[in-house]
Amino acid sequence: MDGSLLEVKGVSKTFDGVVHALDDVTIAVRQNEIVGVVGENGAGKSTLMKILVGVYAPDKGELYYRGRKVPFPKNPKEAAERGISIVYQEKGVIPHLQVYQFLLLGHEDKYVKLSRLQIDKMKKDAREILEEFHVKCDVENFMYELPLSTQKMVEIARAILSVRLEHGDDDVTSIIILDEPTAPLTIEERRGLFSDILEMKKNASFIFVSHIIPEVMEFTDRVHVLRDGKLVAHYDLSKEKITEEDLFRAIVGRESSEYIYKPEVKGVVSEEVVLTVKDLTKNGCYYDISFDLRKGECIGIFGPAGSGKSEIIKTIAGLMSFEGGGLIVRGQKVKADELPHFRLGRGIGYFSGEIGKELFLNWPITKNISIVSIEKILLRMLPVISFNAERKMAEKIVKRLRISAPSVNTDCYSLSGGSKQKVSVGKWLERNPDILLLEDPTIGIDVGAREDIYETALEMKKSGISMILVSDDPKEYSMLCDKIMFIKDGRIQKVLSPEEFGKVMAA
């Protein structure tokens, strides 16, 4: 490829000799462009970036810098010598440093004179770089005082600066990897950050790692799609015209036959409304969300990451507060800042597939299941836990969900990902909440375990439990939901039946 600034060819990487994290991946970055790298969780995006900045060594592959073959970097300093630096998704900022201290952190040796730091010179250089990239803040501000989007900008400026300092050359073009840079930002802040990045493009190239499709479509020049460690697609957005749906299908790689709606397994939805969401608003996350959830119904909130779907379900669970509108549970209005335990008292349970979020990893299966139903295992006369009843309760769930574990007394940290998830969802079988919120219920587990979780969810649904689903996997929506709401930029765009949803996804 002519004019490539950086090119990685045929990179492969396996972990433990088994898992193919990357398989023969080739990508190139040209001068002054933004290259997108997209894919699902576990597609290999992070592994590739870690190879580029010298955290991992690849098993195979070549690296070309300005057409010249160079060895892969062994650490971030060597990466900077090859012009590459990274801005991590989070935890990159040191809040209690002033902006100039943070910008030049690690490069103080260049500012030492008579074993003292030349503070004035540091501030002057910092000021220059901030001006160059139009970052609106003072070098004497503390990092924590800045808005999140400005912090990101300072981080990007810092990455560019570190490349220049390692090169000892101000004219070098930096290649900055942005790892999901917008994750912590609100919708408005994202806009601002992107216009600033487009401005910076004049002086640098970017590799933009993300799974937020609209952002990638809008701001990148070319997109590489990774799936299961392989490069499955490459689009030049300036030449080809593709839709968001095209890109989505390339990322998830599913066949249309998988979107089959089976009404007979979903059970009957009654007319009784258990939850009313009315004009629910949280500024910067979602706006004017309204819907009714009926007994035995499952509503899916579907949209790209960052659309606000996760915030909506977290709000209903009590993990976030809302600012406008209202939640009415069984005819009762609830307070905006009610904590999860109050919501559970109202019959709203929450299940997330994120490992460790709700499991007590150092506890045996028995206790992880009984924790939400302690009333059921107390002795009849005294408020004392019966270990016998606790064990029987756990054994029932383990059998029903086919959880593979040596015994119900096995500690949860030693279980497989799928078993952990099953324990997590299994405890709700015993508790029987009115409403169960499912957030990414099958993230990171294998196909067989997924089927078991779906089966359990459908069974609970049939028994009259209402559900709200948020996921990255469209297949889950068509399997579980009676109604799917499309959400974008925090607003409901349209409401589809599962058949219509299947058609849209398969089209």
Partner: protein
């Protein structure tokens, strides 16, 4: 029920030793001192000295153990001892024998206060309880006029009942059992372990995290207060008005040595009792070897470091829970 055959008991013993490696250390200490200094170590007098030390460590450490389980720290116990001792002396002429109830009441009030402040203001419990400890110590010294004030009326509490067996030890048994029972067999205990193990998960499981945190501190203060009814006389029938580091450190050491990690979520009062016993045996044994007190402190410190390392890293892949 039939008596279990030894083939069934053996694996249980092995499992217990694996999860409680301190038992091996305890046995090793007993054997070591019995071999090295049999004439001084294997005596009824020493036996009762060890139990006395055990009572002191355990009764101070039981309450704070509950707080450590939720991942916080409660250092107020010495403060309750000191302030309560002076209040006892002040109240004695007015209330008579009932004045001893000042301990459980002061403990309860202190725990509740710490709990509420901790939950509402969200400051680290270490700093909060340390400040309160210093405040109580200052208040105690001021009220007492700078000298330790003895109260003689409660000598009957520790009056000998069985030869060589300290009566305070007998009294401490029901308190230890109650603490273990609360933590292991009740909803409160289960919820406190849950909070220490995974606070967000506890909230999602429907636990009112703030309420149970306050409860943990209150329970800690109350247990300390109840223990002090015995400890007051056990420690000489007067409370000091000067803050000493040793009083503060050794109960904490018993908790850590027992294997309740300071991050919370596991361990508990039964482990603290085991830690206190091991610490008592080691301390007493080392003193009897006629080592310099400084050397004893040094060796006990090293023992503690070893216990923490083993407790954190596990022994041969077994996680200590």
């Amino acid at each position: 029920m039939k008596i279990l055959g030894s083939n069934k008991i053996t694996p249980v013993i092995i499992q217990t030793l694996k999860t409680h490696p301190l038992i091996i250390a305890l046995i090793a200490f007993v054997v070591m001192f019995s071999v090295l200094i049999p004439a001084r170590f294997l005596t009824p007098l020493n036996f009762s000295s060890i139990l006395r030390l055990f009572v002191t460590y355990t009764l101070f450490a039981l309450g704070p153990t509950i707080v450590v389980v939720i991942g916080s720290l409660d250092l107020s116990y010495v403060g309750i001892w000191m302030l309560g001792g002076v209040l006892l002396w002040l109240l004695m002429p007015i209330l008579g024998m009932l004045s001893i109830l000042v301990y459980p009441l002061l403990g309860l009030a202190t725990g509740l206060l710490i709990g509420v402040i901790q939950v509402k203001v969200k400051i680290p419990s270490f700093i909060l309880t340390l400040s309160l400890l210093v405040t109580f110590a200052g208040l105690a010294a001021w009220l007492a006029g700078g000298v330790s004030r003895p109260v003689r009326e409660y000598a009957f509490i520790t009056a000998p009942l069985i030869p060589h067996l300290p009566t305070a030890f007998l009294w401490s048994i029901p308190i230890i059992i109650a603490a273990v029972f609360i933590m292991k067999r009740t909803r409160i205990g289960t919820y406190l372990y849950a909070i220490g193990s995974n606070e967000e998960g506890a909230g999602l499981a429907g636990i009112n995290v703030d309420k149970y945190k306050i409860l943990a501190f209150t329970l800690s203060g109350l247990l300390t207060g109840i223990g002090l009814i015995i400890l007051f006389q056990h420690l000489g029938g007067s409370a000091p008005v000067e803050l000493k580091l040793g009083n503060l450190v050794w109960p904490l050491a018993a908790i850590v040595l027992g294997g309740t990690p300071l991050v919370g979520g596991s361990g508990g009062p039964h482990r603290t009792a085991l830690g206190a016993l091991t610490l008592a045996v080691a301390t007493q044994g080392l003193y009897l070897m006629i080592l310099l007190p400084e050397v004893v402190a040094l060796l006990l410190g090293l023992l503690l470091v070893a216990a923490i390392v083993i407790g954190t890293r596990g022994l041969k892949g077994v996680t200590i829970t």
